[in-house]
Amino acid sequence: MNAELGQIALILALCLAVSQAVFGLVGAARGWGNWMAVTRPATVGQAGFVALAFLMLVSAFLANDFSVQYVATNSNSQLPTLYRVAAVWGAHEGSMLLWAMILALWSGAVALLSRSLPQGFACRVLGVLGIISAGILLFILLTSNPFSRILPAPFDGNDLNPLLQDPALAMHPPILYTGYVGFAVAFAFACAAMIEGRLDQTWARWTRPWTIVAWLFLTTGITLGSWWAYYELGWGGWWMWDPVENASFMPWLAGTALIHSLAATEKRGLYRSWTLLLALFTFSLSLLGTFLVRSGIIVSVHAFASDPLRGVFILGLLATFILGALTLYAMRAGQLRSSAGFELWSRESFLLFNNVLLIIAASLILLGTLYPLLLALLELGTISVGPPYFQLVFLVPVIPLLGLLIVGMHSAWKRARIAPLKQRLVGIVVAAVIAAVLLSLLFAGRMRTMVLVGLFLAIATMLSALSIPFDSLRRRLPVPRGVVGMAVAHFGVGMFALGATVASAYQSERDVSLAIGQSANVAGYDFKLTDMRMVEGPNYVAREAEVIISDAKGRVVATLHPQKRTYRVQQNPMTEAGIDVTWQRDLFVALGDNLGEGVWSLRLQYKPLIRYLWLGALFMALGGIIAATDRRYRTAGAREATGETVPERA
């Protein structure tokens, strides 16, 4: 029964999404109050029904209802309860339903929290969101129904892919989707502003907190994915430039550019048409990501069994949304004229550079991601674009970006005074140079120019970010939340750069073959294989090694137990790495195969400061939380509507 109830809830949600779109857009266009009054309830109702459908799927998983095809393919009666819930988004159909539910919840949140906005504007925003929801729900109902039954029902299910049976990965899709689906709100605000012709800076102020929240979820989601790949895939890498990773990273870059250009638009009324365009592009890149991942056009860990109809359908949706929005933009862009002036040396300029560099990085990554697909489509051969390309096109814009960030954070709007800036930065630069040299001597005893540049930029960014709130506190000036958020997020950027630089430059890795009692040396640490045994988990058996690690002085620093698991149902072997974590480094052991004659293959790795890159990313997200909860966003809408002016703050 649950599956049928879920199906009906989805159909009702589709009807409500359509009415949300029609009543919202037509009502606002004609100024019909009673039509507009329907929009909010329709939106909340849509969210409720999609959530109900989602819960029905969850309950089918919890009840082990294997007559539902999707449950039978992705679950098993032995699967632990937590992973039975996570299995809901473990494959294509369920993850699309999760996508739809998150969009519906965002729409519901906009409906409930937009009462301070003018009614017509709020209705247009909800109307645009309704069109997107309707498209996605139609896609689910027509091509990817998670509720279809199989008869006769199998006795037991095919189990969840063992790789996905992990706490970080159970949380990764919901958080990631909350991020990139959340950009739909910025997209809808931009469309509504264009439809209404309200192209002043008010829409930017209303959009900003929504965009920051979406961005911080995306940041967290990508971080979780990277961390999971590091410990679960058994190769110890944290970013592979896999097309699917790029699919989430491109919206992140565009979204980062967007939150910066929104700042300039809100505060100074600048770059208005660019900000609109960026809001459209950011969500378009999210949709493109969905297309790349869900159409099965890319073969990777994330791409599920492919069905051409699905690809065509998502491509159709993508084209409709993007072309529709761009047409609107083409009609409106001519009305935009920036009047505000600014000097070259000002925060405005720095934000402009930030945007140019981020967008260059995003476009080149897009090029590298789509190029192989294009060639394959034209039957010109099968190629892949390797990580060296992506590393180069990412680092080339990012190095000047960090340099500009160090200075830009301290620059005022309109026109920055150069003398105090110099005074403040000299100390930071000197301290960062000394710290960079010391760090590189500490880790390698020798210096490489690129590493020094990386370390310098990372440390200077962290110091520069820290100095902003501390400077204000020292002078007993109030520090607004927005500024604290900015400082914390940029501190995170520096921390990330520090971790990424040191981990990539000074890591060492060895594949070795060891018999019990033998040892191997990596980066001054002695890894000794001492034992090998079988252990049993809830739904797997594992071969477990014991590796005792001692440092150069012979002191034991860690005992690790890497495993090679075999899950009972799918029978696929799975590496569960053993990792010892301290503030300075990770020691990583992955167990390979039995090589015969009592010898085992092991991958040993030493990764200095690698934790800092994830921690840095979490600091960026934390900065987002602090900035988005600034009180002025909660009161701004109301004041705007009554014509009161909002005091400017830096």
Binding site: V299, S338, T382, I383, V396, G596, E597, V599, S601
Partner: protein, 143 residues
């Protein structure tokens, strides 16, 4: 500067940035593009030169030979028309086994493939590109 000049300089700046970036991209593209071949294409002599390439196919049944106690092994990759011998030293991915799809990265030396990287995709339904649609005895996966 007048607003007009300012706009103009911004546009010029963006254009310069974008063209420098695309130049860089194109240059590194040449070096980073890795061509992909099937065993039949290799046999037909399509891969020339010393550049690293990728080879995809199925690991032939019973072809995995390992020097006991060593990380070095050889196996055969087939597309059911031609077969290429692959040499590799290192830890193998979890899903590497006979009869499964595999993609190897490395160079072709005297008709044999010296791999520096072995990728087995984390899905038993995975087929290497250009293999889909071939009549392959697949492992029975109940769906």
């Amino acid at each position: 500067m007048t607003p007009r000049q300012k706009r103009l300089s911004a546009v010029v700046l963006v254009l310069v940035g974008v063209s420098v970036a695309s130049l860089l991209a194109l240059r590194s593209f040449r070096d980073s593009v890795v061509l992909y071949y099937t065993p039949a294409e290799l046999a037909a002599g399509k891969a020339t030169g010393k550049r690293a390439i990728r080879l995809g196919g199925m690991v032939s049944k019973g072809s995995i030979l390992r020097e006991p106690g060593s990380l070095t092994l050889r196996f055969e990759v087939t597309d059911f028309t031609r077969t290429v011998t692959v040499h590799y030293t290192g830890v193998l991915p979890d899903l590497f086994r006979e009869g499964q799809g595999v993609v190897v990265h490395g160079t072709l030396v005297n008709g044999e493939f010296m791999a520096d990287e072995v990728l087995a995709k984390h899905d038993e339904k995975y087929m290497p590109p250009n293999m889909a649609g071939k009549t392959v005895p697949r492992a029975g996966v109940t769906q």
